[in-house]
């Protein structure tokens, strides 16, 4: 499903966080949003998810403004994975994932909701912990459950805000591999990531944000020393190994110049 952002602006208490952000993301794209802290990645994700509303600029899904779509219908097309859940409710894994079916039912889940939940748990290989308390899980398992909950919404677009920030390398790769296979099946993935190397490795499109504006956007060709140094204001070098390239931070820009 295609998502188009046009001249999006957003302010928190008068302070501008997003400024004239525009981009068009196609079905099945794996897009990473990268940029320094405070560059507006999370805000952009929340605006796209319809959690934050703005009067300046538009977000369209298949040419329909998201404001014109009923919230429950929007939730069937688009799922949001928050940055972190400080207060995870004391649910079983099954109930947590079943919560993702809420847009499809009113007062209690139906047979299809239960069936989809079971299928998602199996697909993500979480069936052995289905009846466990979410609090008893490791950080990686908990994050996988939150992604499973989003997948239970059967979305065409998945918006993820730093879903791997608290995970070790193994779990980061596991989560990103799941997302990659979803993208290959036509789900549009838009993910805010701090780890630039993971962003390069998995994305087919990268949007670099700086101080609320799109610094540059495109395929892997935009990963250049010049772009990254201007984006993060640090010295970097890029090392190529086979078909992969890796970014190595080399210290503060001014410090290195001295």
């Amino acid at each position: 499903m295609k998502i188009a952002i046009h001249n999006l602006n957003f302010s928190y208490n008068g302070s501008r966080v997003l400024e004239n952000v525009s981009n068009c993301i196609e079905k099945g794209d794996f897009v990473t949003l990268v940029g320094p802290n405070g560059s507006g990645k999370s805000t952009l994700i929340k605006c796209m998810a319809g959690i934050l509303k703005t009067k300046n600029g538009t977000v369209r899904i298949e040419n329909r403004k998201i404001e014109s779509v009923l919230p429950a219908d929007l939730a069937k097309q688009m799922a949001y994975v928050p940055q972190s859940e400080h207060r995870t409710p004391v649910f079983t894994v099954f109930d947590q994932v079943l919560l993702g079916r809420k847009p499809y039912f009113n007062w209690r889940p139906g047979k299809r909701d239960l069936a989809v939940t079971s299928r998602v748990l199996r697909d993500l290989r979480l069936e052995h912990i289905a009846m466990n308390d979410v609090h008893r899980l490791s950080g990686g398992q908990r994050q996988a459950v939150i992604i499973a909950r989003a997948l239970a919404q059967e979305p065409d677009i998945l918006l993820l805000d730093e879903p791997t920030s608290n995970l070790d390398m193994k779990h980061q790769i596991e989560i990103l591999e799941i997302l990659k296979s979803l993208a290959q099946n036509g789900v549009t993935i838009i993910i805010a990531l701090h780890d630039i190397n993971m962003a390069i490795r998995y994305a087919n499109r990268i949007i670099m944000l700086k101080r609320g504006r799109v610094f540059t956007a495109g395929g892997r060709e935009i990963i250049t020393v010049e772009n990254l140094e201007n984006l993060y204001e640090v010295k970097v070098s890029i090392v190529k190994q086979g078909e992969h390239q890796f970014v190595i931070p080399c210290g503060h820009r001014n410090e290195t110049e001295k």
């Binding site: 929340k46 998810a49 319809g50 959690i51 009923l70 919230p71 429950a72 219908d73 929007l74 939730a75 688009m78 799922a79 949001y80 928050p82 859940e85 207060r87 995870t88 409710p89 004391v90 649910f91 079983t92 099954f94 109930d95 947590q96 919560l99 993702g100 809420k102 847009p103 039912f105 009113n106 007062w107 209690r108 889940p109 239960l114 069936a115 939940t117 079971s118 299928r119 748990l121 199996r122 290989r125 069936e127 052995h128 289905a130 009846m131 308390d133 609090h135 008893r136 919404q153």
Partner: protein, 358 residues
């Protein structure tokens, strides 16, 4: 690999655990009700009760059972159910384990309303009964005043949260402010009251199911049942809010409406109970925690289980209150805390490995 059907089967088994808990508590409730009918200062044995049910009972036992004990028991069940369910809902909505409709100042406002009726509107204190140092000679005026003031307190809290934001923190803080304000109001009323008026106010603030009549039970039932059905219908919306406002919004849930309507319904239910029976502490705060400790934190069965447990707990406490130092009947509001606090402490110490709140 476990097949989806097998996962579903495991989930159904898991749900049955909650159903079994509700069934067990219902059995205890039935036992408590049976005992409650026969025990008390007037002797009505099981044999007499059987005779009564088969149409062979005496007029005296019919009077005791049908006019005094049954309205008291059914009123207690309804009140306990309403208080416990409202407490569970408010705790979920505000994501605060210390929240209950009482935290929002409803009991304070209600007690102030009763004091206002007794002192300013002259609804009590002029009559002295043989049993009580003082009594209320116009209970309907006291009840109406208590109800209106508690609704006013709810309106103030909802207005403040609408003008500012509907964040749980704002609602809790507004509730504490309103509660303190009415606490000061009660103190002022008591300061200006004469001895008999003061005794009437104190007597009213002790929660007591002895005020129940069939008329009260009818009004309670008609007003509380729709609220309980509403809560049941909203269960999954409340569960979504427990996962965070932003996430709930992303599911298409109108979080402000869900939170405010839930708060209003919980406050209404509590205001109705408090205005009829006085302040019955503890049930709304601790029964949901006891249930969560027993069946798991945010189990889908938490609300119905709290409802049944609340009814059982209040009727059980009242039965004990009527009999523990018979023929003197203690107000149930005193007993609920005496029973509930040790029970809850015991449960807190037991199963410490099991998370039930976050």
């Amino acid at each position: 690999m476990i097949m989806p059907e097998r996962i579903l089967e495991q989930y159904k088994q898991h749900l049955k655990r909650g159903v079994r808990f509700i069934a067990s508590v219902s059995m205890i409730l039935l036992t408590v009700v049976s005992v409650s009918i026969v025990v008390g200062s007037a002797e009505v044995g099981f044999v007499e009760l059987y005779q009564l049910l088969t149409g062979k009972g005496t007029a005296f036992s019919a009077q005791i059972v049908y006019q005094i004990r049954l309205p008291r028991i059914i009123g207690g069940m309804l009140a306990g159910t309403a208080l416990a369910t409202s407490g569970a809902v408010v705790q979920s909505l505000l994501r605060n384990p210390l929240a209950s409709p009482f935290t929002l100042g409803i009991s304070g406002a209600s007690a102030f309303g009763a004091a206002f009726a007794i002192i300013v509107l002259g609804a009590g204190s002029t009559y002295e009964s043989s049993n009580d140092a003082s009594a209320i000679d116009n209970p309907y005026l006291v009840t109406s005043s208590a109800f209106l003031w508690s609704i006013l307190s709810v309106a103030v809290i909802i207005l403040v949260s609408k003008l500012r934001d509907t964040l749980p923190e704002t609602i809790v803080l507004a509730g504490i402010a309103v509660s303190t304000l009415f606490g000061a109001g009660i103190s002022a009323m008591q300061y200006f009251a004469d001895d008999i008026q003061l005794a009437s106010i104190v007597f009213w603030t002790f929660g007591d199911l002895g005020r129940a009549t069939w008329e009260y039970v009818m009004i309670l039932g008609i007003s509380l049942v729709p609220i309980m059905i509403f809560f049941h219908y909203q269960t999954w919306n409340y569960k979504s809010l427990r996962a965070g406002d932003e996430y709930a919004k992303s599911l298409g849930i109108k979080i402000d409406w869900v939170r405010l309507s839930g708060m209003l319904a919980a406050s209404l239910a509590t205001a109705i109970v408090v205005s009829f029976f006085g302040v019955i502490a503890f049930v709304g705060l601790v029964v949901p925690h006891i249930v969560r400790k027993m069946i798991g934190g945010d189990d889908p069965m938490t609300l119905p289980a709290s409802a049944v447990f609340g009814g059982m707990f209040l009727v059980g406490s009242d039965t004990l209150a009527r009999t523990v130092i018979s023929p003197v009947m203690l107000p149930v509001g005193i007993l609920t805390s005496f029973i509930g606090a040790p029970l809850f402490l015991f449960l807190l110490l037991k199963n410490t490995h099991k998370a039930y709140w976050s």
